[in-house]
């Protein structure tokens, strides 16, 4: 009985990657610098890239994907998302992004909610997204909980790394959660970090004796230990320039913090400080409205100016972002290129733009074997029918760990059911 079970499990888990795959003849944008190889070849074996370049022989027995007239890029990585933890945002029962009614905060761990069958996974995979940072949004505390890294593969086990970062809300949202002011939010933050340090010194004593009056739960303090000690990143949501500067100061008291800013719409006003602190930024390049008082200086030049200053920027979808979806990452990146043409605007080169949705998110989250097309990296490769940043282009093949992924989703099924119009012999619900 037990043995049967194990065998079955092994079958399911076994990678279907034994094959060697060669993608030939395409325009290969490697995301290494601005490197583009015309008529290039990418070879994958056992899920890893074994060769990238021109004039590379195709190994005998390889499955060949003809990419002539097409473009080849690394799989896209969204530097933030709620993929696999939300199906329909406005239907609470399908949405594990945040919890307002819980006594816990920092200890919340989205990896326990990852659903590999959530339909947004296939829908976004069809847009070329192969990996995602997936994370919580703020609940009732400034500590939102811990996010994870997932694969978008059509596979049972898509959780790659749990508890990769802690989401911390400061700025206007953090102030609201903390009771109504920025100073209140900062006290919550410093108290949480101090409690984590105290917990780390003596976990057993944390809930006993005089320590009982702690303002945070033992589990939350325990979760923050990894943040204070730099084993988990601190993803801090702030927008206003003054809030950004305040966050950067944190490392003088907590030197091991691995800070990542998310939002940072006014980042360009203090780009030199962010760059000097070597703190990366996750944002989108199309925010240009003064839609809150903390985002008055929003501009589509933010990403260009940050990167010009040396800040590493990855694009990601945070807090809904005006209907943004990870499958539209190329649209965001392409628009960052367009901004360079605007007199007085600062945009990106195409190579930089591609990096913001491939190499940079990988670098920000320490995914060393993802984000570029280089020998030894995981076989996450997308073949596009045109310039990957163009609105009219789409993937024609998506490979994850060297495995060609199905090019269908719930949306393509709906399309196919309705493409021929009204019912004839039988109701449409009988169409496949």
């Amino acid at each position: 009985m037990k043995r049967v079970f194990l065998l079955a499990a092994a079958l399911v888990a076994a990678p279907v990657t034994a094959a060697t795959i060669a993608i030939t003849g395409g325009t290969v944008a490697t995301a290494v610098g601005d490197n583009v190889i015309e008529n290039g070849t990418v070879i994958m074996r056992d899920g890893r890239i074994t060769a990238v370049g021109k004039d590379i022989a195709v190994p005998a027995g390889a499955t060949v994907i003809d990419a002539r007239g097409k473009y080849v890029t690394p799989g896209l990585i969204t530097a933030m998302s709620t993929l696999a933890i939300s199906e329909v945002d406005a239907v609470n029962s399908t949405n594990d992004i945040s919890a307002r009614g819980t006594p816990f905060s920092a200890a919340l761990d989205v990896s326990t909610a990852i659903n590999p069958r959530a339909t947004p996974i296939a829908i976004n995979r069809l847009g070329g997204v192969t990996r995602a940072v997936t994370g919580p949004e703020i609940g009732s505390e400034i500590f939102g909980g811990q996010g994870a890294i997932i694969s978008l593969a059509d596979a049972g086990d898509i959780l790659m790394r749990p508890r990769v970062f802690q989401l911390i809300e400061l700025g206007e949202d953090g102030a609201r959660a903390a009771g109504g002011s920025r100073p209140a939010a900062w006290l919550n933050l410093r108290n949480g970090f101090a409690e984590a340090q105290r917990y780390a010194r003596n976990p057993a004593a944390f809930e006993s004796g005089r320590d009982r009056d702690s303002l945070i739960k033992a589990l939350d303090a325990a979760a923050l230990v990894a943040v204070v000690e730099g084993r988990e990143a601190a993803v801090v949501h702030v927008e206003r320039a003054s809030d950004i500067v305040e966050v950067l100061k944190l490392r003088s008291d907590f030197p091991k913090l691995r800070l990542i800013l998310v939002g940072a719409r006014e980042g360009w006003l203090v780009a030199d400080k962010i760059a000097a602190a070597k703190v990366p930024v996750i944002t989108l390049p199309l925010h240009d409205l003064p839609d809150q008082f903390e985002t008055l200086a929003s501009t589509r030049s933010n990403v260009g100016r940050l990167m010009a200053a040396g800040v590493i920027v990855g694009l990601g979808v945070f807090n809904g972002d005006s209907g943004a979806q990870p499958r539209n990452l190329p649209y965001f990146a392409g628009n960052a290129v367009a901004q360079a043409a605007v007199p007085g605007g600062v945009g990106l080169t195409r190579g930089q733009a591609l990096a913001t949705i491939t190499r940079n998110p990988a670098q920000i989250f320490g995914l060393g074997d993802l984000g570029t097309l280089e020998v030894g990296k995981r076989g996450d490769v997308v073949v596009w029918d045109g310039d990957p940043l163009e609105l009219t282009s789409a993937p024609v093949a998506v490979l994850i760990d060297g495995v060609a992924q199905p090019m269908t989703s719930r949306q393509t099924l709906l399309r196919d059911r309705y493409k021929d119009g009204k019912p004839t012999d039988m109701p449409l619900q009988y169409r496949p």
Binding site: D288, E390, T392
Partner: protein, 473 residues
């Protein structure tokens, strides 16, 4: 000259309750006194800004009717399109723009915007889009919420939007009147009103009204409650109209005194305007089955739905929408954020268009309004991957002429045809490319945006003195 044209157009939009020439009456008697509902108590004070005769030539033109001119040239003169063709005459003194490698289109028209009534900054004090105090509030008018210092107007202009329709929100079954604006800043909302454009009535079906009122323990709490509530409102409106029609008829015959006029009900004034065919119905609705319910309701009470908005399931009933002559105003790919948007697909716009129904790309969003051309590009590409062969010049109809039809202004703007308003965008590249941006925008022939000239880039009062003010966004 221009003013008299505007006044003539205003006259055309006159409500049927206006006095018509009295019937043949007894000689020498005074015409009877007829109480009428004022047609336009908050008239437009918009005036076109001065322009110069401008020729744009050697461009690729998508003219908005589905035609492409390459090379194409257009002459803007006296506020209108004076000539369009492969070449056009160049009058002495005209400004000539050589647009080699560039594109020219009609200005983008967004049929669904909340700029001004949900302005930036989106603080509670500025939240003026939903009068969510009753499921039926046809008496409120979006224009009375519009704050003309919304920075969003400037951003939309930089995205090539020359006309927009600002609607109340969708909390109510009957949200109130929408208003069409020229995207030219004014000191007042009236300064921005598109002269002579019809009003709309914003309606909503589905989740929003039943959630907003159901959660208060009020009707509607269900979709059947939505329809039942709306039917009663329409039924009451029909009765109101009957009383006004009867009074007006009798008054014209001299058999009714002014004191016999029915008591005015501002809510029902709007509904009567719909029943008289003077006010358009712009109906927020996601699901196909609910759109069908609304269509049946419109037949029951004798009004016309001009457009369904959001309409993420229009592809399921494109044949019905074609038969009914109802437009669908849609996103390219928003879906899944609420249950009724769960079945959205990227091919929606293309499938509606293929069925011969009126397809419109809309935004409902202060950020999305800035790149409606890009949404159209995505929708076109999705259709073409199904083998539809949609050309860019055809897809442009989704951005200007079709929304103009959905607002009843298609005889005046929405395409580059001789005599129409010179609402024009010059793009630095193909506007269906992600790399394209508007370089210049003309509205009624006035150069109202120039990406290279800070004096032609508006800055709303709110942004003055704030960080980032005047930065080319």
């Amino acid at each position: 000259m221009r003013r008299s044209v505007l006044f003539a157009l205003l006259g055309l939009s006159a409500c049927a309750t206006a006095p018509k020439p009295p019937p043949p009456a007894i000689a020498n008697s005074k015409p009877p006194e007829v109480v009428a509902i004022p047609l336009d108590p908050y008239p437009s004070t918009y005036r076109a800004y001065p322009g110069v005769t401008t020729v744009i030539r050697n461009a690729v033109i998508y003219d908005g009717t589905g035609r492409k001119l390459a090379p194409g040239a257009v002459r803007l003169e006296n506020g209108v399109v004076a000539e369009i063709g492969a070449t056009v005459a160049v009058p002495a003194g005209a400004t000539v723009i050589d647009a080699q490698g560039k594109y020219v289109t009609p200005g983008v028209i967004d049929i669904h915007s909340h700029l001004g009534d949900y302005p930036s900054p989106a603080v509670e004090a500025n939240s003026d889009g939903n009068e969510a105090t009753s499921p039926a509030r046809p008496e409120v008018w979006a224009e009375h919420s519009i704050w003309p210092q919304d920075a969003g107007f400037a951003r939309a202009l930089a995205g090539g939007v020359t006309t927009m329709h600002v609607l109340p929100g969708s909390a109510n079954l009957f949200g109130g009147r929408g208003v069409t604006l020229k995207n030219v800043y004014g000191r007042t909302a009236q300064d921005m009103k598109f002269p002579g454009a019809a009003y709309s009535l914003k309606m909503a079906c589905g989740e929003n009204p039943k959630r907003v009122y159901g959660s208060k323990g009020q009707m509607p709490q269900t979709r059947m409650g939505n329809i039942a509530y709306a039917r009663q409102v329409w039924s009451d409106a029909v009765e109101y109209k009957r009383r006004w029609d009867d009074y007006t008829k009798r008054a014209r015959l001299g058999t009714a005194k002014p004191t016999d006029a029915p008591r005015r009900d501002l809510a029902k004034d709007t509904l009567m305007g719909v029943l008289n065919g003077e006010i358009l119905v712009e109906n927020h609705c996601y699901r196909a089955d609910e759109m069908a319910n609304v269509i049946a309701m419109s037949h029951e009470f004798g009004y016309k739905v001009t457009a369904f908005h959001h309409a993420v399931e229009s592809y399921k009933i494109a044949d019905l929408l074609k038969a009914e002559g109802i437009c669908s105003a849609m996103w390219a790919d928003w879906y899944g954020f609420k249950m009724e948007s769960y079945d959205g697909i990227r091919e929606n716009i293309a499938l509606v268009d293929r069925a011969g129904a009126c397809a419109i790309v809309h935004s409902d969003d202060p950020n999305g309004i800035q790149r409606l051309n890009q949404e159209a590009a995505k929708a076109m590409a999705a259709g073409n991957r199904m083998g539809m062969g949609i050309t860019p010049e055809h897809a442009w109809t989704w951005l200007s002429l079709n929304p103009a039809k959905g607002l009843g202004i298609d005889k005046r703007t929405g395409s580059l045809e001789v005599g129409k308003m010179a609402d024009v965008v010059l793009w630095n590249a193909n506007p269906f490319s992600v790399y394209a941006r508007p370089e210049r925008v003309w509205i009624d022939g006035a150069l109202i945006y120039d990406w290279a000239d800070p004096n032609r880039r508006p800055v709303a009062d709110f942004e003055l003195g704030q960080p980032g003010a005047g930065d080319p966004k």
